[in-house]
Point group: C2
Chain length 167, copies 2
């Protein structure tokens, strides 16, 4: 069980009820876990750009029952990895993030602290051994052992927003 620090900073606004204590509306299953060089939150890069700089390893281990689903993933392609940031609290609607001066609504920032702490990493697949359930990617900005929820191909045609529409 992870112990989560719940000291609030000035101006922060909590949810009326902590989502972590609610019965929940749907259930996730973990399909594997991330392997990264970062074992404590303080050492974890704050985004993928920073994670790429030191050039540490980044791997995904997929559990045996899901490995047939790795078929057709090709090294070189870009993928989206969804993670479950299980060391993040879930009860802050307005936050004062470490790397920012002002308060911000949770849905306007990429903080791991959110009602559903789903992390999103757009990365390059470097190697894939489907049988062993091992994927090597160019970077991951999450803690070692972070549960993996999904892997999807990234598509420039839908995953880049269209130009702003004149209003």
């Amino acid at each position: 069980m992870v112990t989560i620090d719940k000291t609030d900073r000035p101006g922060e606004i909590r949810t009326p009820v902590d989502p972590a204590d609610q019965a929940g509306d749907a259930k996730l299953i973990f399909i594997g876990r991330a392997r990264t060089p970062w074992n404590i939150r303080e050492a974890c890069p704050k985004n993928l750009r920073e994670a790429r700089e030191p050039g540490g390893f980044a791997r995904i281990e997929v559990d045996p029952e899901w490995r047939p689903g790795l078929r057709d993933l090709e090294p070189g392609e870009a993928i989206i990895v969804l993670t479950w940031m299980n060391q993040a609290r879930r009860d802050l609607l307005v936050q004062a993030p470490r790397h920012r001066e002002s308060l911000a609504g949770v849905f306007s920032i990429r903080s791991p602290v959110r009602p559903n702490p789903i992390g999103l990493c757009v990365v390059r697949l470097l190697a894939c051994d489907a049988e062993a359930g091992l994927l090597e990617v160019d970077a991951l900005d999450c803690l070692d052992g972070t549960p993996i929820l999904d892997i999807k191909p990234w598509r420039a045609g839908v995953d880049v927003p269209p130009d702003p529409t004149p209003r």
Copy 2:
């Protein structure tokens, strides 16, 4: 309760246990729902590009308890909307999607059918009434009423993959 068709196509491979029947490793809460013109799966566009063509409305209704988190979202910016595709089955590892000739591993395609049916829409925010919990976006490719899990700002610096690394 949604009734899900579970007829398999030739060559498809199921998970040993249906994830929908498992106790689950983590619990999601729904923060709101999508409002789209599509009420049945057959009418639903297969991706965001197709959803933009007819130009129908696309809105997100955020429930009252989460609305303080909408602060600082600005019309014109690009956002990532995560949805819970609750009408999709979860037990197919290798699939023969409707729009494709051959079989494919679930993690190599964007099918809504996946162990954790989390949908991802990169869209442009057109209007935001934080107090009323109403967001208007340029498109959503999900069914009307689809639960919303998260809203994040899209960032070109981290959400576009780096160029392929020479190997």
